[in-house]
Amino acid sequence: MKINSKARIPAGRKSREKNLEDKPASDKEWKLRLYVAGETQRSLTAFANLKRICEEYLANRYSIEVVDLLKQPHLAQIDQIVALPTLVRKLPAPVRRVIGDLSNQDRVMVGMDLSELKI
């Protein structure tokens, strides 16, 4: 099973956490959260797309927390979730949101400010 709360990938997190502020954008820790409602085809696709992009550009310095709203419905209100799937970039600030199954990689790059890392 790919998606559940265990799907968190704390790759290289501990080592980088301490001096987060000093690092350039390209070096920062990325904290992502993906909201889904159950294991639908769309949420699986979204997760797969996200992981692929992260592996490509943010290897070892990202974490993806998958929140299943069917299990934690109260989070939907707290985090202002309307559409699903929703990807929220918690860190680095500012918070960014992308909704959809992330099938367009270029737009994910733009939406998450990843494009600068692409160069």
Partner: protein, 574 residues
């Protein structure tokens, strides 16, 4: 429509849920369709949000149906404040899990769309909220905001359709608000998805005065009032005032209410108005209408009964001062709490607000007599039609409560138009008094007459209406060769007649004297004649006597002559 209101509930088979909104349940014959979505649409500021909030709050408070408010525009704090102004403690209701407020914030600038998505998040949130409070009611205000926040309209539309279907499946009585669009009920065509019940709210400004109106555009499976119903937003939330509830099944009273002017009581069959009847007093400016009204107020309060005086022209202090000058003391009644003034400019609110306020004050004060001075000014707060409509409803309300309604109508000058301007109202009043002024001989004088008075023998006389320092007096007007005489002309006429009388009396006296004289002279004449006669008689008697004497003398003479002849016959013959 008028009469069928009461039956509507029994005819329909559709289950309805009362909203608790005053008047709304009456015009829908029971409320909103149970377990189905209802669309409330209208322009900005027409009361959509309030309607949906009130629907939930009243549902939770009055009908034990908890509700979920999903707001897309205002935050939960805003809602709390708004509702607090209506006297609902929504914070406590949230604590008690009767109401759940979820503010959905969607900002296009914060959201990047990428690929396929759905609105399952909204479903999750709603489902969660419904579970928490055990909701029976849901309000979505205003879900159209999503169209501004999300780009993919196709997804949005299909998801909304799914949402409404889902709510229906869950048996939620739902209110969905939608902004009025051009040429359509809602900007996003929400009416396509909500096919059960559509209510249109409207906020119109006519002659600078705004009136809110409501119309049931559609109510599937139910008979409903099709009219536009005025409604207002007051201290207690929305109040719909269905014209159609003005039924005519009120009882009547044969109790009489003195008018405060004994002479007028005389004209009205000796007793005054009927309790619970509608009295219209019309007249042009300065004919003493308010004075009549204050007499009624005075006599009512003097009996220890309550009277409420709605003034649309003068303030309380003004009326009290002015009436003191004609010997009517209203101040003491106010102090005793028997008389209540409510002075407002008609243009302060729309007609509906006036009507609602009047209703409210009457419900609270419970008067026996209400005075409206003058009702014609209400036209300033709307159109003529609207004001007449409003008055009819007000009159019906008062009749139902058996409250005597005394309305003053100001008519423009010129006596010809006097009976014309009130035509709209004349048929609904029971007693119609007319005050008019007559100009003659360089002065204006007031006349009053009873134009009609249902159910009592009333005088057909025109009376002169006098305002004295001891109150209003009605005196009989004089009919002269040039019409009705009033004022100094009447006084003149009275003097003239008095002079005539005196003259006639003098003449009589003179004639009597003359007769007496005549009698005396006749008697004198008779006396004289008799005296003459007696004299003649005496004379005749005297003549007769002397004749006898003469005859005797002749005899004597003859005898003596004969005697002497015998002796001296020779001598004689010699």
């Amino acid at each position: 429509m008028l009469m069928s209101q009461g039956k509507m509930v029994s005819i329909n088979t559709l289950k309805k849920v009362p909203t608790g909104i005053a008047g709304f349940d009456e015009i829908t014959g029971g409320g909103l369709p149970a377990g189905r979505p209802t669309l409330i649409c209208g322009g900005a500021g027409c009361g959509k949000s309030l309607f949906s909030t009130e629907f939930l709050v009243r549902g939770a408070l009055q009908f034990n149906e908890p509700g979920v408010l999903m707001t897309f525009e205002e935050t939960a704090d805003d809602i709390k404040k708004n509702v607090a102004s209506l006297g609902f403690d929504i914070a406590r209701m949230i604590e008690q899990k009767k109401i759940f407020i979820d503010h959905v914030h969607v900002d296009r600038s914060e959201i990047e769309e990428n690929g396929e998505y759905d609105l399952e998040g909204l479903f999750v949130r709603l489902n969660h909220a419904i579970k928490i409070v055990g909701a029976k009611r849901v309000a979505l205000d205003t879900i159209e905001t999503l169209f501004a926040g999300l780009q993919n309209q196709a997804i949005l539309r299909s998801e909304l359709r799914r949402l409404f279907g889902w709510l229906k499946e869950k048996g939620m009585t739902t209110v969905i608000t939608g902004e009025r669009g051009e040429g359509a009920l809602t900007r996003q065509g929400l009416e396509e998805y909500v096919s059960d019940c559509v209510v249109l709210l409207d906020h119109r400004v006519i002659r600078q005065v705004s009136t809110r109106r409501m119309r049931i555009v559609k109510y599937r499976g139910s008979i409903h009032g099709t009219n536009e119903y005025p409604f207002l937003i007051g201290e207690a939330g929305i109040t719909v005032l269905p014209i159609t509830t003005a039924e005519m099944d009120y009882g009547v009273s044969s109790r009489r209410v003195p008018t405060g002017v004994p002479e007028l009581d005389q004209m009205l069959g000796g007793k005054g108005y009927f309790q619970g009847s509608t009295v219209l007093l019309s007249g042009s400016a300065g004919t003493g209408k308010s004075s009549m009204a204050s007499h009624l107020a005075n006599v009512t309060c003097s009996r220890g009964e309550r009277c409420i005086y709605f003034s649309f022209e003068e303030s309380q202090a003004q009326i009290i001062r002015n009436m003191k000058s004609i010997g009517v003391d209203l101040e003491s009644h106010v102090r005793k709490g028997l008389l209540k003034f409510h002075a407002t400019r008609p243009t302060v609110y729309g007609l509906e607000m006036h009507l609602a306020l009047i209703h409210k004050m009457i419900e609270e004060f419970k008067p026996v007599v209400t005075i409206f001075d003058p009702v014609t000014n209400l036209q300033a707060a709307g159109t003529l039609d609207d004001s007449v409509n409003m008055l009819i409803r007000m009159i019906d309300f008062l009749r139902k409560k058996n409250i005597t309604c005394f309305m003053i109508s100001l008519t423009p000058g010129g006596s010809r138009s006097l009976e014309m301007t009130d035509v709209g109202m004349s048929s609904i009043v029971d007693t119609w008094l007319l005050l008019r002024d007559v100009e003659s001989g360089g002065e204006r004088n007031r006349l009053m007459y009873v134009l009609k008075s249902r159910g009592m023998a009333h005088s057909n006389q025109v009376r002169e209406f006098l305002i004295t320092s001891k109150g209003v007096k009605l005196v009989e007007a004089y009919l002269g060769s040039e019409g009705v005489l009033t004022g100094s002309a009447r006084v003149n006429q009275q003097n003239l007649e008095r002079a005539h009388e005196r003259l006639a009396a003098d003449e009589m006296q003179r004639k009597k004297l003359a007769l007496q004289h005549r009698r005396k002279s006749v008697e004198a004449q008779i006396e004289a004649l008799r005296a003459g006669f007696l004299a003649e008689q005496d004379e005749v008697a005297r003549d007769a006597a002397s004749d006898d004497v003469r005859r005797q003398q002749v005899e004597i003479d003859r005898r003596s002559m004969a005697a002497s002849r015998r002796v001296s016959n020779a001598k004689t013959q010699l």
